[in-house]
Symmetry: C2
Subunit: 332 residues, 2 copies
Amino acid sequence: MTTKPLTEPELDEIYAFAVQLGKDAGKLLLDAAQARIGGKGSSTQAFSEKDSAVDIVTKTDEDVETFIRTRITRQYPDHAFVGEESYSKGSSRAYLINDATPTWCVDPLGGTVNYTHLFPMFCVSIAGGKPAIGVICVPFLNQLFTACRGRGAWLNETRRLPLARNPIPSMPPNAPSNCIFSCEWGKDRKDTPEGNLYRKLDSFLNMAAELWGRGGKGAMVHGVRSLGSATMDLAYTAMGAFDIWWEGGCWEWDVAAGIAILEEAGGLITTAKPPDDPLSARIKDARLGSRLYLAIRPAGPSDTETGREGQERTVREVWQRVRELNYTRPAA
Amino acid sequence: MTTKPLTEPELDEIYAFAVQLGKDAGKLLLDAAQARIGGKGSSTQAFSEKDSAVDIVTKTDEDVETFIRTRITRQYPDHAFVGEESYSKGSSRAYLINDATPTWCVDPLGGTVNYTHLFPMFCVSIAGGKPAIGVICVPFLNQLFTACRGRGAWLNETRRLPLARNPIPSMPPNAPSNCIFSCEWGKDRKDTPEGNLYRKLDSFLNMAAELWGRGGKGAMVHGVRSLGSATMDLAYTAMGAFDIWWEGGCWEWDVAAGIAILEEAGGLITTAKPPDDPLSARIKDARLGSRLYLAIRPAGPSDTETGREGQERTVREVWQRVRELNYTRPAA
């Protein structure tokens, strides 16, 4: 099945649908969390005390995905749907998004561990198109990140991203120094020197250590941040709050909405995997499904370079300091 | 000068004063941030484009501290005041809080680097007493953490802390496994094997690595989080969102309000420095001014132990996995 490109009014309509869906799904997440919260304003207890927090979260995850899929299927029966929960239960690990069918890519609950602990960095993430539309709703913080191709990226529908735009800051001349570097420890914690844990740690250390330390690789970033959610990391990079996000192991639903928002805000996203020639390799757009991502925040021009030049310079500096991570797709 | 203990009505009055002061100071932080934000709802540009973000932040830091100190001095002329900005400019590095004089301990802007980047994890932090009162206002997230001795700890004055209390979760039986571990990379990034950077990394790795990895020290925590603000880390530990916070290098204004809130919520705070006998050493309350802290979230009882027993068990497990950090007070 091949479909015609969407008209702009059609895109407007789908965008409005996605934004409302994100808000409604975010409210479901919040309502389920409320059941474990006491004090004034708490709802009635919806779960038996015997249910563990993990059971509750799994059920919420499934319920919210079903809610989103049902709404989408009813409104757009011709569209395809890729969701974290249904994918996990399916037998294939293939990359299921193609150019021929308009596809929704949904994570009903990003930051699952945060949600279990009621740490506010959890969200619902909805992407549509290739992705042309991105919606991330962070209900506990009342933050809604939205973007649609050609329509800008927004926080809470009123503040354009990146947030600092008086003016939009250029990349620091000595980046990654003076940058906030966002990264996650991940779930692969094998205690083996060639495992992802040690490859990540080596990379983090190069980024954090004093300038010229670590055999010249020390970058002395201004700060290292780990929020426990790739989706939130990307949203804050689009916002301009993080300068650099580097990660391996993400699935497409973790990043599809965030990529749409980041790119519409003017950010750059490419591969986390350092090429053989980091100083000269062409900087290609990230391939959704590749599981390896490096994002740079939106950047304004400086006296000596364009915003894009500053971003590309930063990509090359990061590539020289990070190691290749070992995340492949399981056999399709 | 020795003062009489405060009566309960006096404490109520001071608490109400501190809460309002925290809200007002938080609004000042937000207003100053708005000047760099564009889009609908932005205020007029208050700074010349030539001012760097860092200059703006330093000015904001000083202005907000002056605002807080002036209000306190006018209301309570007999009270002492210790603030981050005034301390930094003073010549002494001595610990200035004593039991004889009611003392306010204030950080006008916690999470300075976050503020510079408009990452929402910044706050104003106000503690009073020893500290009996703690107020942390996070204006960008509309989060206000407050506590007063005997009056409970609260989020936004309506939700009692810890947040999850249906029931309050016990510590996991295999803690630190299944815990969220909060820690920061800090500013000391010297590339020397015995420096704080490597001591921290060793400790982080022990906490993160697979169970029984790292020579038996691997704890496979559920997640590692770094927010870039000790004050925010403590607030989220009091909330129950983080299970464990371990840090060195904090000053008293970074933690005074957070400690008051954490303790009133039922959390435990002791020293980050592992004793010679981690399995049997007495677990003493943290000493404000010690610069080394280990906090455990509020915990409910399990079938086999009290909440306090679960917290103490967790402290001992952490002590066995972390290294001593080298943060002393500069010569007083």
